[in-house]
């Protein structure tokens, strides 16, 4: 084993280790900053090594918990409903497209994939959704635009079906008299859990992290904000959380720990993803590979 390749291996480890730290350290900074006392933050700034710990930021957020819990509820609702519909629609399109005998298959595929090349842009979409479909300030504004179906996911699902569904099984089922919907439900779906999981994960992540729909379409109804929208509003204006009637924190004479509060709420938005990620990490990587390599 020559020394240059040993050196290269060590170098690889070193670089990847450094990168791992770079990727993870900012999150740790966020978490550490959220549990640092306000005094320490003012004196020393946000730091990985707080001089003084304090949970005041979280205590303050607890007093505003209705807004936060509401936003969380919206995020969970929108993500769940959106992802379910997305996966359903994607499957219902991708499966027939994978069936080689379908007349007009290529034309329909082109219809879908063309959307990846050319779109009308923000203004026509915005005007259409608000002036003609009236989804401004409604829950639909969070779920329907853009995220409900996208061509990329259709491609990877179709590819999966094309390469993993044995035509013979489908033929056999048809000879046995099974209808198409039956075939889909009883044969195709059970065989497709990996790709369905992948699409669900990608779609779920997109919905969870989405803040654009809320930014565009929620103007008056701030009670429909998702957690991301809430964060968005707050970074400009920490007072947004203030609800003076309910705020015993303020009335008790404490000052609002606004510097630490920002970090705390970012942590709260981040935690679910970080918790869920290790569980689904395998699925994510697989999905990326399937999408990127074969797509």
């Amino acid at each position: 084993m020559d020394s240059s390749s040993k050196f290269f291996r060590l170098l690889s480890h070193a670089i990847l280790l450094a990168l791992t730290l770079c990727c993870v350290m900012p999150l740790v900074l966020l978490i550490m900053s959220s549990i640092t006392s306000e005094r320490s933050l003012v004196a020393y700034g946000y730091s990985l090594f707080p001089k003084e710990f304090s949970l005041d930021a979280y205590r303050y957020l607890w007093t505003s918990r209705d807004k936060i819990l509401r936003a969380y509820g919206m995020t969970i609702f929108v993500t769940t409903v959106g992802t379910l519909i997305n996966v359903a629609l994607t499957t219902l399109i991708a499966y027939p497209l994978s069936r080689k005998t379908l007349p007009g298959r290529n034309a329909i595929a082109f219809f879908i994939f063309f959307t990846m090349l050319f779109n009308g842009g923000m203004i026509p979409s915005y005007l259409m959704w608000t002036q003609y479909f009236h989804i401004k300030d409604t829950v639909f504004g969070l779920i329907v635009p853009t995220l409900l179906l996208n061509a990329f996911q259709v491609i990877i699902m179709r590819t999966y079906f094309s390469t993993n569904l044995p035509v013979e099984i489908i033929e056999a089922a048809k000879i046995d008299g099974a209808g198409e919907f039956n075939i889909l439900a009883k044969i195709v779906l059970p065989l497709s859990t990996p790709i369905i999981t992948t699409v669900a994960l990608l779609s779920g992540l997109a919905y969870w992290n989405d803040w654009l729909n809320g930014l565009y379409y929620l103007i008056e109804r701030t009670d429909l904000f998702t957690i991301q929208n809430l964060l968005n509003r707050i970074i400009a204006n920490a007072d947004f959380l203030n609800n003076n009637q309910n705020n015993q924190f303020l009335s008790m004479g404490f000052t609002v720990p606004s510097i630490g509060v920002r970090m705390a709420i970012a942590v709260i938005a981040l935690i679910p993803i970080l918790v869920v990620y290790p569980i689904f990490q395998r699925g994510f990587v697989k999905g990326i590979v399937v999408g990127g390599v074969k797509g």
């Binding site: 690889s12 990847l16 219902l92 923000m122 803040w211 970090m263 990127g292």
Partner: protein, 301 residues
């Protein structure tokens, strides 16, 4: 015709999805005409008055036009070049790691930035760059005796900041794709190279990189097709929509957004959006034609 009748249930399945695509993606195309009109909310898209190319000439006369096109194209070019080189390098390093468990750890870690929304990223950036409380000013510059920098008022720093943030956020995803491609390379090619006396560096140069070419071409092609589009989160959220930084952070997408929802100036914004759509399409088409001439198999269509 009988074939169509036989497949009717399959068409029925596709109907809802196709309907959505029609509405979400194709219907707005009708709205592209707004770029040639003086839009009036009361009159709507169809009754607003035609003004020919006035929106476009108006747009081109502004200094904004140059800034947003320069920024959009410039940043994207940087992202594509730097991002690709970086991701390929990381993929090659990943391939050097023999212990599967450790490699999994690295893979898991580098994907973490991908999971974070740009809103949270803007908070992280704020934690570093805040003029009074930021980590850089307080924990790095101050101990070194250097003066604090007012990051959010100096456009000059932002090309660097935005490139770093963009690469940080996206390299994990691309690296994994390239890594998966490398894993698929036939091992006998490496053995043959080794027998021919190639060391590690030469093996990378003569086996790994050529075999990566199709994947690189495909991904780069896709990126070039998007060269007129920018990531709204990166350019709006991370700089926290600060006007002083517009020279360095304004892109076509942020310009259109601001025109529509902040300044209520639809004319110039719709012209910019129109140019974006048309030019973007031409880009993908041309890029694809070029690739067809070079390596026929790698073209998208």
């Amino acid at each position: 015709m009988r074939e169509v009748r036989r497949h009717l249930p399959l068409y029925a399945m596709m109907l809802p999805g196709l309907l959505y695509i029609l509405i979400n993606n194709y219907l707005p195309l009708i709205g592209l005409q707004i770029a040639f009109k003086k839009f009036n909310y009361a009159l709507g898209v169809f009754s607003s008055h035609w003004v020919g190319l006035k929106n476009f000439t108006f747009l081109i006369k502004t200094s904004d036009a140059w800034v947003i096109f320069r920024n959009t194209l410039g940043y994207n070019a940087l992202f594509i070049v730097l991002g690709t080189i970086f991701s390929i390098a990381i993929a090659i390093f990943l391939n050097e790691i023999r212990q599967r468990a450790i490699r999994q750890v690295y893979q898991t870690a580098i994907l973490v930035p991908f999971l974070i929304s740009y809103v949270v990223v803007s908070y992280i950036a704020f934690a570093f760059l805040s003029p009074t409380n930021g980590t850089i000013n307080n924990s790095i510059l101050r101990p070194l005796g250097l003066p604090a920098v007012s990051w959010y008022t100096e456009p000059a720093y932002w090309p660097y900041i935005l490139v770093i943030v963009n690469i940080w956020k996206t390299f994990g995803y691309s690296s994994i794709i390239y890594f998966a491609t490398i894993v698929g390379i036939d091992k006998t090619l490496y053995e043959a190279a080794y027998v021919d006396g190639a060391n590690t560096r030469e093996q990378i140069r003569y086996v790994t990189l050529p075999m990566l070419k199709p994947a690189v071409i495909t991904l780069t092609l896709l990126s070039i097709g998007r060269i007129f589009y920018s990531d709204f989160g990166l350019f709006y959220q991370v700089p926290m929509n600060t006007g002083l930084l517009y020279q360095a952070t304004n892109t076509i997408d942020t310009y259109v957004y601001r025109g529509l929802l902040e300044l209520n100036d639809i004319g110039r914004s719709s012209a910019a959006g129109f140019m974006q759509s048309v030019l973007g399409f031409l880009m993908v088409f041309s890029a694809n034609e070029i690739v067809k001439k070079i390596e026929k198999d790698n073209a998208l269509f």
